[in-house]
Amino acid sequence: MISTAITDLWYGFGVALEPHNLMYCFLGVLVGNLVGVLPGMGPVATISILLPLTFGMQPVPAILMLSGVYYGAQYGGAICSILLNLPCHPPHAVTCLDGFPLTKQGKGGTALGITIIAAFVGASFGITEMIFLAPFLVKVALEFGPAEVCSLMLVGLLAGSTLAKGSPLKGIAMTVLGLLVGIVGSDIETGQPRFTFGITELFDGVEIIALALGMFGIAEFMNSINNTETVDLRYAKVGISDMFPSKADMKLAFWPMIRGTLIGSLCALIPGTGPTIASFVSYATEKKISKTPERFGHGAIEGVACPEASTHSSVQGDFIPTMSLGIPGDTVMALLLGALIIHGIVPGPQLITQHADIFWGLIASFWIGNILLVILNVPMIGLWVKLLSIPYRYLYPSAMFFVCIGVYAANNDMFQVGETLFIGVVGYILLRLDFHPAPILLGFVLGPRFEENFRRSLLISRGDLMTFIERPISAFFLLICVVLVVAQIYVWLRKPKIVAEEQAIEAQVPTSSYSELA
């Protein structure tokens, strides 16, 4: 098993190191790092803007670049938290708690250095996990019939909506809304137009880019206009030489890093628990097992190392269910899945064998991308710090330009711009009503495949719903669904200790005006 993995990986490096692919991988991580640093821009909006620009490209460089944006943004996100105390990227919100006190003590550079090391350790483990776990999952998943796929999707949808931030009930409602939005367009089997209201442009369905940019672009700008804190750059002075941590700091951070990595990689395997939850859980754990918990919140280096390592290992692990099963765990993965479909690649267990260049090339590009990011972040830290001072009033009009032209370029159609605007306004109303937009995208991407498999499995069983329970694997997935629902009701009725603790930490994190930049 190990030898095949190494051969495949070798092949992957061959793909990823082709100059063309390498260039796009570099471009991806660079753009990702950039938007990660900028307060008020998130990877979801960025990937949606870049997506139409990849239409003319080969699928391999396109996917390498778009993935690079995602993990690249994680490197940048920590800078914002540590130096400015701005939790503009949810996975790094918890890093503020100890990162900013360290900055105030003049140790911001050390914190950043530790962050980069933790990031690399976490990411490396996440990638290794993917190398060995994904082919194994595929072997299992190849046995799945439509009934199993259906139940598995149900797990993914339910987990994605209930384990995310906010009220689980509202999360499920948003997933169902997403499924309904996914129905818009012509029915696959009969060609009957559904929910098109006579608009010809809607016959092909709602454009994924319009949905993502409406929800995470326009709605987000409406939420944060004239509502952002002034950026306080008083402490943000960091040189390269400050970034190398002392031996004592390294010793202090070593075990928290390992623990964070393990927690992150576990969280990646549970559908619906992305990097944000991983970072909160690992911070809580680290604080609990520490001999000196009173140091946390006042600049403990462990409080930076642990959540950062877990974020990055979870980010890389996030790709596992998406690439091996075709079930995305969060918004970014849903978007990447959409990108695969646009490029004519059917996601699912057959992806690894049919498109080995994408799968192994992607894994190899993770290593290369992470190394590039480490190299980028050390000498360029001064530039990143300068970027932090770009005011929001220049940022959002520029982003609006990219939104408009990006959506237009997808189909060369002005109708899509209007569609995005409409979705954006609706998205803002939903945001004000405490609905989080992430599950909509999840439901939207999985919706058509869910319906197709649901119809097919009932066609096979001649309309007998018992087929979902009679098949053991499908029954197992449905059992997980039941457990998820029961657990939510339990949490709702009596808040257990762990949840209370997590909420206590969440309450300490400085509130961000950037609400949902997943």
């Binding site: 409602a173 009957q192 559904r194 032209i405 109303i429 009503l433």
Partner: protein, 157 residues
């Protein structure tokens, strides 16, 4: 503040979902429903619509039962009507000017209007930003990426 916005936000949230769900189910009922073994195009819309309506009721219902204090109003504390108008106005101008004028006027107007939405923005600062973005946009999207979008309709640039 306004009396009608002091109601719990969750009532609105639940009500909206109920409305959307019923709407989807009613619209879906117009398509062929079919049977479980042979589902028509109307099956999923109706089922999902009913589920959404039910969730709406649950959301409103749990708000009724919870004793938690009101967390916030529907409108933010300082509504940014002008800012919102600018953000909506930008893409609208982009569509109109893009259709009839071309890329240069569309991009300039879009960025200019969006930028005006900020409290600290002036006409001058917005115009400078819009001009800069227009130049950048033309170079990137027209000359490098070749998207089919004439710079100025009627002129062959």
């Amino acid at each position: 503040m306004r009396g009608n916005f002091t109601l719990k936000r969750d009532y609105y949230a639940g009500g909206l979902m109920l409305l959307l769900g019923v709407g989807a189910a009613v619209t879906g009922a117009g398509y062929k429903f079919g049977s479980l073994a042979r589902m028509g195009p109307g099956f999923m819309p109706v089922v999902l619509g009913v589920v959404l309506a039910f969730l709406g009721l649950l959301i409103a219902g749990t708000a009724l039962g919870s004793s938690e204090p009101e967390r916030g109003k529907f409108l933010p504390d300082n509504p940014q009507w002008f800012g919102w108008l600018c953000i909506i106005g930008g893409p609208v101008l982009f569509i109109i000017l893009g259709q009839y004028g071309g890329m240069i006027p569309a991009v300039f107007a879009c960025v200019f209007v969006c930028a005006l939405g900020d409290n600290t923005a002036t006409y001058k600062s917005s115009a400078i930003l819009a001009a800069g973005i227009t130049v950048f946009g033309v170079v990137l999207f027209h000359y490098l990426l070749h998207i089919p979008f004439p710079l100025l309709r009627g002129f062959n640039l």
